[in-house]
């Protein structure tokens, strides 16, 4: 099962929110669409789930979704039905398909076990933690064996330290169930961690669609690069100072972690500022009239110290 979005365009009244969106999702693939809040990511999901119609373009499925294998969205706030227990919530989709009581109970129990919710089976949504709620929401979606799973901001309501764990959990689940999954989010780190491919949605368009590594280190544009994190622009006339042999391009984009600091009295750079950030230290270094940011695990460099910057790898 795979799907392909072709030239999707969507307008609300006169405002265009999505313009000519093209990408594809392979079978068993997890794709994240990343962009700032309010760029129409949820709209994109609704279009894929056929809850909304695009003004142009279409979503092509290799096998069109059916009632038995639908496209399921897991909404941002999980939208668990507050009046139903966890069990009833998970079983809701099967109930709607008029499966037998025993069959539903069997499948729900399996889900409860898989999603580590056995103890919460008889609780109501209001009594669950955010993480548990999310697992219920995903279980409720998975139980109807969806053709495609859509996750809307899966990390939005979670504590910081829970986000990465959740990303890994989603990845693992997606792999085991083997369901093509599209997640839209603005949490970069988690998207990088779990996705096979990532699309960057900026200014109504899909700016780049590639593996996380490529997108991050080989950003298609300065906008994309800036969106994904701090970035240094090395102009051509300073290439030599960074010992770059490259030619032909006017400038090179380098992430702070790609700039290695080498102390040396005759270095062209000078450390202007230094900020401790936990697992690394951020240094602001001036070379000529340009300023660069570099991350280093080494905390010993002092402000005012002369250094050389080297581009490590791309």
């Amino acid at each position: 099962m795979d799907l392909k979005l072709c030239h999707i365009t969507k307008r609300f009244r006169k405002r265009t929110v999505l313009k000519d969106i093209n990408f594809d999702v392979g079978p068993r693939e997890l794709v994240s669409i990343v962009g700032p809040s309010g760029v129409g990511k949820t709209t994109l999901l609704k279009i894929i789930a056929q809850l909304d119609k695009p003004d142009h373009g279409e979503v092509v499925f290799s096998r069109p979704p059916t009632r038995a294998h639908p496209v399921i969205i897991v909404f941002q706030d999980y939208v668990l039905f507050p009046s139903m227990t966890v069990r009833d919530n998970i079983g809701f989709g099967l109930n709607a398909r008029h499966l037998g009581k025993n069959e539903i109970r069997k499948q729900v129990e399996q889900m409860l076990v898989y999603f580590q919710l056995t103890e919460q089976g008889d609780q109501y949504p209001a009594q669950l933690s955010a993480g548990q709620s999310q697992r219920v929401a995903i279980a409720r979606a998975m139980i109807v064996s969806p053709a495609v799973l859509l996750l809307d901001e899966p990390f939005a309501n979670l504590d910081r330290n829970l986000k990465m764990e959740t990303a890994r959990f989603i990845r693992k689940t997606q792999q085991e169930f083997g369901i093509p999954t599209i997640s839209v989010t603005h949490d970069l780190e988690e998207a990088f961690a779990m996705s096979d491919r990532i699309g960057i949605l900026l200014d109504k368009r899909l700016q780049q669609f590639d593996t996380p590594r490529k997108v991050y280190f080989n950003s298609a544009s300065l906008d994309v690069a800036k969106f994904l994190g701090p970035v240094n622009i090395i102009p051509e006339h300073q290439f030599a100072l960074f010992q770059i042999a490259g030619k032909g391009s006017e400038q090179i984009l380098a992430r702070p972690e790609n700039l290695a600091i080498h102390p040396g009295r005759d270095g062209p750079g000078r450390i202007r500022e230094k900020a401790f950030a936990g697992h690394y230290t951020a240094y602001t270094i001036s070379i000529g009239n340009h300023t660069y940011t570099a991350y280093s695990h080494d905390d010993r460099y002092q402000t005012g110290q002369q250094v050389t910057l080297k581009l490590t790898s791309l």
């Binding site: 039905f81 507050p82 009046s83 109930n95 209001a126 009594q127």
Partner: protein
């Protein structure tokens, strides 16, 4: 104490009448210039005991048509309220204004015109006729309450349930109605009270065939037998209070169990 004045006003305005009613009910001969009744009698209670069947019947009948009115208004308003809460169409504001009108214009203005028609179509003097006419001018309270309920609920639950494959009716009954319950209760309480305390329309359309507690109460309130009128008024007061308390307790318990409040 700053709140004492507030309390005093509340008590004087709203609780004192009940106390006085209780006294009057036991003192038919209480008259000027006695500040406290000179003597008490339980004649009113004896009358009550003698007529308990009739009083209970009229109370039951009032309850029945009031509850049926609540149910009817709910049926009338559920789907339309969803449409009003969730979609925009031209003329929506105007239509909403028009639909709220029956609660505002004097109900006599359409009930009296309808009366003749109801007689022709055998709806006069029937429970159905009474429920219809009561529903017709009390539904706006239910309607507004439900629209607000649907708006608070938002579209997500419906979208989500649709996405999971549920049909319109099962979404309405399984997912939305439990969430709407507070709105239904709020609107329903008003509708119930309006129907339960209505005298004139029940009298006009029910024509004496549909028993009502107000119908029993009204002639007595006008008579010189104040103690009886006071007793019946107190009974009148108790029934909705008990009903609301029961519903409230049941509902609160259910919702607390689900952690929804």
């Amino acid at each position: 104490m700053k709140h004492a004045a507030t309390f005093l006003v509340l008590i004087l305005l709203f609780a004192l009448p009940v106390v006085v009613l209780a006294l009057v009910s036991l003192a038919p001969g209480w008259r000027f210039p006695d500040v406290w009744p000179a003597d008490f009698s339980i004649k009113g209670l004896i009358y009550l005991a003698q007529h308990q069947r009739q009083i209970l019947m009229s109370l039951g009948s009032s309850c029945l048509f009031s509850l049926l009115t609540v149910l009817t208004t709910l049926l009338m308003c559920l789907l339309p309220a969803a449409v009003f809460a969730r979609s925009n169409f031209s003329g929506k504001a105007l239509l909403e204004g028009l639909l709220l009108a029956p609660a505002l214009v004097p109900p006599m203005t359409f009930a009296m015109g309808l009366h003749f028609l109801f007689i022709k179509f055998s709806l006069a003097d029937t429970l159905a006729g009474v429920v219809l006419i009561l529903a017709m001018f009390s539904y706006p309270y239910m309607f507004r309450s439900l629209v607000a309920g649907f708006q608070t609920m938002g579209k997500d639950y419906r979208l989500c349930a649709e996405n999971l494959g549920a049909g319109t009716m099962s979404i309405l009954l399984q997912v939305e109605l439990p969430l709407l319950m507070p709105a239904v209760i709020a609107g329903g309480s008003v509708v119930f009270l309006v129907a339960f305390s209505e005298y004139f329309l029940v009298f006009l359309i029910g024509g004496g065939s549909v028993d009502s507690f107000t119908g029993t109460l009204f002639p007595l309130l006008n008579s010189s037998n104040r103690s009886l009128a006071a007793i019946l008024t107190l009974i009148f007061l108790c029934l909705p209070i008990v009903l609301f308390l029961v519903i409230d307790t049941i509902l609160v318990q259910a919702y607390r169990k689900k952690g929804m409040i």
